[in-house]
Amino acid sequence: MSLTLIAFLFLSLVAVFCGLMTVLSKNPIHSVIYLIGCFFAIAGHYLLLNAQFLAVVHIIVYAGAIMVLFLFTLMLMNLNKESEKHKAAIARIGAVIAAGAMMLVLVAVLKRADSLAIPSTQNIAIGTIENLGRVLLNEYLFPFEFASVLLLSAMIGAVLLAKKDHQKAA
């Protein structure tokens, strides 16, 4: 077994374990921490594919920013076992059916999908920021700009929603 394969197996194991524990652990704060572990394992996978930039940005954005906000909200909400409401049986059955249907769709899609030609990972320069920038601003300029407009509109929408209450109260 090569070193890369061992690393891959280890990271996959960690990712799957953390993913499962995210769903299974009772305490929401523990869920968030397992999810962070899962993000780290996925960043490790990116590194194995020679995408250093993607790996680091993944850590900064997901583990460093988004999950901190999650943790923040959960800590301030103070979710104790006593305060958690018991959900009705119908809601639980509905949730199981919805999640099962979603999983069915995912499995069907993954089974039917053609396996993509795996880019040669021998070329270590493939994921550097220079190459990424060149590809993003030449080949994929339109989707790139479109995504930025989408993010901007989402941001403006969030600010508007937050402001509305404030004006009513004043």
């Binding site: 962070i36 680091v56 850590i59 900064i60 460093g64 901190v68 943790l71 923040f72 550097t128 920021i129």
Partner: protein, 354 residues
Amino acid sequence: MDLGFVIEKSAIILVIFAITMLIALYSTFGERVFASYFQDRLGPNRAGPGGLLQPLADGVKMFTKEDFIPETPNKFLFIFGPFLFMTTALITSSVIPWGDTLTLFGREVKLQAADINVAILFVFGVVSIGVYGIMLGGWASNNKFSLLGAVRASSQMISYEVAMGLSIIAVLMMTGTLSLRGIVEQQHGFIDWSGNIPWFSWNVFKQPVAFIIFLVCAFAETNRTPFDLPECESELVGGYHTEYSSMKLGFYLFAEYINMFISSALISLLFFGGFNYPGMDWVAHNLGGNLATLVGVGVMFTKTLFGIFFYMWVRWTVPRFRYDQLMNLGWKILIPLAILNILITGFVIILNGN
């Protein structure tokens, strides 16, 4: 991977670790000495000659105190918090270039543990993980004041990370590389004669606005005065480490000094030319490459130590901000200023290019 490479890197990592620890240890002493100087009193002078053994005495005290763990449902997270905070503080030093290359036994030895091409992003990633150390520790303490301190600390760190990242973008637009070594090498010497108008080669003279934003954000990120609201003892008892004692508290306090050291090193690398100094070509030509590199390492550490002194100087000079002032400064002044700086830099680069 040959054996020489492994030995070289292991030696560099060990030396960097030892130096980081030593400097952080004596920063605690330095802080008390400077504090006493600024307040016109004597300061620590009992342990050893001139009080030089004071940090060791402090360490022994920390280790031998009772290690109290409060009644908490999350004992593991309570222990994990300080561990994570200390680890993230130490990891950053691995990508910092402490000097140019040395030639030893026919090998070119770069004085850096890892020269990766996304070094700056790596630093930001590690800094953003450091928030968890405070948050988990503060929450697992099962104490209102700890939780409030942790929330303050993490919201402050997230807010100022944004401005910090934006201020760095203007610098990166000029350098065109994310590698710290690349950025330092572009600031060669002191005055750059190659352009139409000779100008200083250090980034602080090219990007003064970015430097000031970065400096303010570095103070906020390391939770130092005037931004030390997370451990504001008049309001929050002791902030996120209220419940901690013994060496766990020691880890939190010690990591702050390591962060100060690393951020001073980053400031000197990004803005003050790192291991570059005026007349370095003359030294390299007349005294040989190895000696010039060693002088460069000395220069780098001098700049870094001055940075640490500056942290202490500010601590005993400027009073603490109020919380709303802190947030206003971060979001309403520093971030727009940083974006404006990026725009101006972009215009200048395009005009120069044409």
